[in-house]
Symmetry: C2
Amino acid sequence: MDKRAHNFNAGPAALPLPVLEEIKENFLNFHGSGMSITEISHRSSLFDEVIDDAIGRARRLLNLGDDYHVLFIQGGASLQFCMIPMNLTLPGRPVNYISTGIWSIKAIKEAEIQGKDVRVIATSEDRDFSYIPTDYTVDKQASYLHFTSNNTIVGTQWGQFPDGRGVPLISDMSSDIMSRPIDVRPFGLIYAGAQKNLGPSGVAMVIIREDMLKRVPDDLPTMLKYTTVRDNKSLFNTPPTFAIYAIGLVLAWLEETIGGLKEMERINKEKASLIYGLIDNSEIYHGIAELKSRSMMNVTFRLPDERLEQRFLTEAIKSGIHGLKGHRSIGGCRASLYNAVTIDSVRTLVEFMRGFEERSV
Amino acid sequence: MDKRAHNFNAGPAALPLPVLEEIKENFLNFHGSGMSITEISHRSSLFDEVIDDAIGRARRLLNLGDDYHVLFIQGGASLQFCMIPMNLTLPGRPVNYISTGIWSIKAIKEAEIQGKDVRVIATSEDRDFSYIPTDYTVDKQASYLHFTSNNTIVGTQWGQFPDGRGVPLISDMSSDIMSRPIDVRPFGLIYAGAQKNLGPSGVAMVIIREDMLKRVPDDLPTMLKYTTVRDNKSLFNTPPTFAIYAIGLVLAWLEETIGGLKEMERINKEKASLIYGLIDNSEIYHGIAELKSRSMMNVTFRLPDERLEQRFLTEAIKSGIHGLKGHRSIGGCRASLYNAVTIDSVRTLVEFMRGFEERSV
């Protein structure tokens, strides 16, 4: 086999090698049909099995009750930013947001465009989004409380989710869904672009609680109503069949090879602690996120100057280590450690970082 | 290699075998990156090349002038049904639609939901959509004239496009884009879900003329504005990278292996005439669409009764011929002959149909 890159991309990101191998192996002939998965009808029994399997696995992994629906919607998390206020605002009631970075701001902007009564009840903008706020009061009247569970850019993550005090939580979990067990019960809706922890880009997983669907206004465009997606089991129009198939394989890997979200969390913690441990004992690497708010998924750090950062990134690529360049909005470096990034890749990165420091001081 | 099915699916549909083979071959290692195409960043130079190549090929194949933009948008043609009236209605001016079947009706419904002044200037509903109307008067004041260029369900197709008399044409070309050369100049916008002639499902190609973009209202949700997609070269948020990559390969096959749209049209005509020729000389197969309106892409026919139809479909599958079941809304049979369906598959179908007739009378 060809040599695999050590892939620390922020998304689209590494996928589990066994999943990629299975896709490749069956690409010309799905389940003996003589057709590629990309050539079979979304109305066929073959595809029914695919989507039912993916939904069933998501339900088991997240321990979802019968009152939750698992939907697949095109347009990524970005389309959810506008669908959420459009579908789920209660008439005359405010919507609450906590702002922890660029993705929260984008979500807030879409509610504002729609003229909703948007109240940002907490923000960590004062310290460049380097921490998760702990001080906030939820409006008792709020339609929902929206937050971003993991912030890919600065590398912060909610350890314990905010307390909605009865107000339904809504969370963009694009970058940490399925990375750890969660209690979904306080959530009215959870959404995640697939391209970090779930599969290829081009689809979002939306987990919505039954009672939230009653809020959906009748007069929305058909494709923008959660009820349309729910009523048609995500098959109102042709879904991204390949992406859903790949998500099913990733979830099967999570369930059967990894052994579930508790074990996945243990591995993810181990991966992150290897790099944070190095950073905390280093002369040249400086963590960007504040200690208590550090993300298990995206480890962000800076080197003393941009010249050295550039050399670091260039030498990393020469060593087969990819995707370490920080987000264009803040610069620096970032190692994204999504589920499919192996301990072996992380050890290789840590070794490289250690060697680079030795060569540089 | 495994035996390939003869795939007459209506969409998702057959893809060119060399394209599938190339995807398979490179699936674990895209361009020597050590990563799958599904694992590389949409902000990487590798993906820039992919999307630029796909756009360039679409431009050349359709002979687009500099005033046209090629965009990739998630949500299929169905999301376009609502984006078009939302973005392109001129204030106080009506929108014109010609209704030639279920897909036209769905497009019309979304304009109505938004409260637009919708005028359906012609419909073929009186004869179950079995023909393309020729009698209609376009409102001179209309914002646009929308029509469906090919109707997959009944199997009709516009041979010559309607004359907009200066009003910009907008067309859903999901099922016949790239099947024949067209003159794009009367068109303000052309859109097509990918899963018939372009690639895997999960993305629509939208071709929009520069002047239409001036109509886009400022206050729309960001993801639903054509200007957002144009300003960000379809990379405002993470696009469906795998689907765009596959589309690029399909367009390369069209350009380099087939030799362009004129040659593709010749082949498509030959394929369709093989089946229509058989139907027109048959005792048991009866074409559904009226002669003058017949589609080159979807050949629809009935057998004398449902029992025989069922036997026909069952025996076809046993002979490795798939996807002949008509759309659930009208029943009957349908052979979809998109670009990637080979002459060899069509000959196999014709032989099977001839044999079935001989055995049945």
